[in-house]
């Protein structure tokens, strides 16, 4: 293609993208086809990748393809291995894409489809992708060091400690909220519970297969596991129809939460090969397969989005979580737009595999674009549901009432008509007793996916598709839970090792049990409270998770901005500075509301005081009064935790500003820790693998 043709092509992409986005944004009253979302997203991603990412790579970071990467310099055949860029891309994407981009957009759909869509697209292109790319670049230039180490080297010990504390805190909240999502999906659903339970022995069987029966045959083992998982989905249907068996798997939220807590503890102390590693293989294959299938089904089927562009809940009265559009849509959707957690991956395993610096644009920026696309698909899957159905599934009983008739009356009164018969029919089609009050995003996403898959591949198997989707989400939520508990344990052992070196030994069993127990107890506490909370717990935990995740993103952007300024690139520091300012605004405002708001559904203290007053006045029904003291304590704890997050954030921001000002004033600052330039010996277009 000559230059003129190329230019015309890009102008066309821009025009198509702009009209798709304009169509979505300005449409009122009529339903929009989901294909427009896909078109707008793809065009926007292509433009951003071609122009913005290329400009950052060439002009701001000045990627140097003649420079040897850590993988080349330290090549040891184990963690440092120069690797083909597509393979690195696969590893990186599998690592960053978890359940976050599926849950967040589903919850945020209560504001309508537009706010979520715009934030996912703009946030990713200007924020998340940039964060991932620059973190990957800076870590690559620093021998693959972690975010915490870079914060310590470039800003000082305060920054380093803040990054470490932030990481541990976010891990605890993340695991608790994900556990809650699984509990809400399994509650009184023998089919879902038995299928999810079956994934544990299946993973162990695959682990044994790979370890002892046919050592190292990863693909064989995984294929056997995937087939067994699919059989488990069908077997769950059989359990559901068997009167004696179904009793075994029909449970309230609380026993399920205890089961997950016990499971998490076991997973953390069992050897990785037995449970964690094989489960991870299965979840990665399921995840990739399902995402491809969903993309294929949406394009094939082109469903209509039935949710309005904006709902009345932008004022903060939403049933799923309280809080107005600003700042809460930006907190609710973290993964998919910008996720601080990615900075840990981009400064962890990925930089140790890069064969060449020029791959950074594709892996860092491109990887996040793909995750953003997953978030768009999740949003589509939630918004193709009838809004009444969407709210009936996601609104907690504490908001709309326990009885089905109360719930439908309340939801219909908001202008989203739904009937008891409609919900009963839907539940029956999905093979469930009820779909009311399944807060957390997984069930409504599963219903959305089941109806998309059902219309694309045949409606007769709706129940199977629904439980397939639940199993798929549960499998990789549990993987995140296992892996997160383990990482938390390592971090805790590392910290405690400074006090008593024996505790820092990762293979000393008493320390393993103690630290695993501590981490599990921490997230188990939040999970327990989330389950006993009549408002569904997600209302409390998800915003807390969002604030923590955005705080971590802000820390990563602080480190990056500090390095840019110190390398004499003040003029270009806005590429990370701008998203940083936005995140600071959003996180601080959200934290302010969560602490200070007098709305009991938003402010933690307000909720605690309200409940204390009701308890004192004796107006609470006995079952609520029994748990009220715990809920009051938890609300207060959450308020202090939010305050801790936002304080940590500002500490690191001021630390970064201090370093930048000193540098600009010509005063001494911690020197750039970039490793010296060594010419690459790997020939052009050739990576040794």
């Amino acid at each position: 293609m000559n230059n003129l043709q190329k230019n015309i092509l890009w102008v066309l992409v821009a025009l198509v993208g702009a009209s798709a986005l304009g169509g979505i944004a300005l449409n009122r009253g009529e339903s929009v086809n989901a294909l427009w979302f896909i078109t707008a997203a793809v065009c926007m991603y292509a433009l951003a990748y071609r122009f913005y990412a290329a400009w950052i790579a060439a002009k701001v970071l000045t990627l140097d393809e003649t420079r040897a990467t850590p993988a080349e310099r330290f090549d040891n055949g184990r963690d440092f291995i120069p690797t083909n860029k597509w393979i690195v891309f696969g590893h990186h994407f599998a690592a960053i894409a978890g359940p976050g981009p599926l849950v967040g957009p589903t919850l945020a759909a209560q504001f309508g489809y537009l706010p979520g869509t715009l934030w996912i697209l703009i946030g990713a292109v200007l924020g998340g992708c940039v964060q991932d790319m620059v973190t990957l670049f800076f870590s690559t230039r620093r021998d693959g060091r972690s975010l915490g180490q870079m914060a310590r080297d470039e800003l000082g010990p305060i920054g380093g400690a803040a990054a470490l504390a932030g990481t541990l805190a976010i891990m605890v909240i993340l695991i608790a909220v994900l556990g809650l999502v699984v509990v809400n999906a399994m509650k009184h659903s023998p089919w879902a519970t038995s299928t999810v339970a079956a994934t544990i022995p299946i993973a162990m069987l695959v682990g044994l297969y790979m370890r002892s029966i046919r050592p190292g045959r990863v693909l064989e083992g995984s294929m056997i596991g995937v087939i067994l998982l699919l059989l488990a989905v069908m077997g769950g249907g059989w359990v559901d129809h068997n009167e004696t068996l179904r009793g075994l798997f029909d449970h309230d939220g609380l026993p399920l939460a205890w089961a997950i807590i016990a499971y998490g503890f076991m997973a953390a102390i069992l050897p990785v090969w037995l449970l964690l590693a094989p489960r991870d293989y299965l979840s990665t294959f399921m995840k990739m397969g399902t995402i491809l299938l969903l993309a294929f089904a949406i394009v094939l089927l082109r469903p209509e989005v039935k949710m309005p562009a904006l709902t009345q809940f932008i004022d903060g009265s939403g049933p799923i979580f309280g809080g107005a559009l600003f700042p809460f849509v930006f907190i609710t959707i973290a993964c998919g737009a910008i996720s601080g957690f990615h900075a840990l991956i981009a400064s962890g395993t990925t930089p140790k595999l890069l064969a060449n610096e020029r791959d950074i644009r594709m892996i860092g920026y491109g990887g996040m674009l793909l995750e953003s696309f997953v978030a768009i698909m999740a949003l589509v899957a939630a918004t193709v549901l009838e809004p009444g159905v969407y709210f009936a599934i996601n609104s907690p009983a504490g908001v709309v009432g326990k009885e089905a008739t109360d719930a439908v009356a309340k939801i219909s009164s908001w202008g989203f008509p739904v009937t008891v018969e409609q919900m009963q029919l839907l539940a029956q089609q999905m093979g469930e007793k009820t779909l009311f009050a399944r807060t957390g995003g997984a069930p409504s996403l599963a219903v959305g996916m089941a109806s998309i898959f059902g219309s694309a591949f045949g409606n007769s198997m709706l129940a199977l598709w629904y439980h397939f989707a639940i199993m798929f989400e549960a499998v990789f939520i549990l993987t995140t839970l296992d892996a997160g508990t383990r990482v938390g344990r390592f971090m805790l052992q590392d910290m405690l090792g400074n006090v008593w070196p024996k505790l820092g030994e990762t293979s000393w069993m008493p320390s393993v049990i103690l630290t695993s127990g501590a981490v599990v107890a921490a997230w188990g506490y939040f999970l327990y409270i989330g389950v006993i909370d009549p408002n569904g717990g997600v209302n409390i935990l998800w915003p807390l998770f969002g604030i923590a995740n955005q705080m971590l993103a802000a820390i990563a952007l602080c480190v990056a901005t500090g390095i840019l300024v110190k390398s004499g690139k003040l003029k270009h520091a806005w590429i990370t500075g701008l998203p940083l300012v936005w995140l600071l605004t959003v996180t601080t405002t959200a934290a302010y509301y969560k602490i200070m708001s007098t709305d009991v559904r938003v402010g933690f203290f307000a909720a605690a005081n309200d409940m204390a007053a009701k308890l004192a006045a004796g107006v609470l029904p006995p079952e609520k009064a029994a748990v009220a003291p715990q809920l009051i304590f938890n609300q207060q704890l959450d308020a202090w935790l939010t305050l801790f997050f936002v304080t940590l954030l500002w500490v690191i921001v001021f630390d970064m500003l201090r370093v930048c000002c000193r540098h600009l004033a010509g005063k001494p600052v911690p020197p750039l820790s970039e490793s010296p330039h060594m010419p690459s010996r790997l020939v052009e277009d050739y990576a040794r693998d």
Partner: protein, 65 residues
């Protein structure tokens, strides 16, 4: 014929990519590298290598939200 071999080549590359990304071929790559670097020492058995490889993989943050 050429089209056929080209398609076959593409499928093979794809399959190799899958094996590489999942770690299915890790032992074969290890053997090759071991022969290059330490030809004198005996190589690990498949089971022994897989044990070390898998334990090494789960030391840091590997999965995200």
């Amino acid at each position: 014929m050429t089209v056929f071999t080209r398609i076959l080549g593409k499928i093979r590359t794809f399959w190799e990519g899958i094996r590489r990304i999942s770690g299915d071929d890790a032992y074969e790559r290890y053997l090759k590298q071991h022969a290059d670097r330490h030809p004198a020492e005996p190589a690990l058995s498949r089971a022994e290598f897989f044990k070390q490889w898998q334990d090494g993989k789960w030391k840091g943050v590997k999965r995200c939200c």
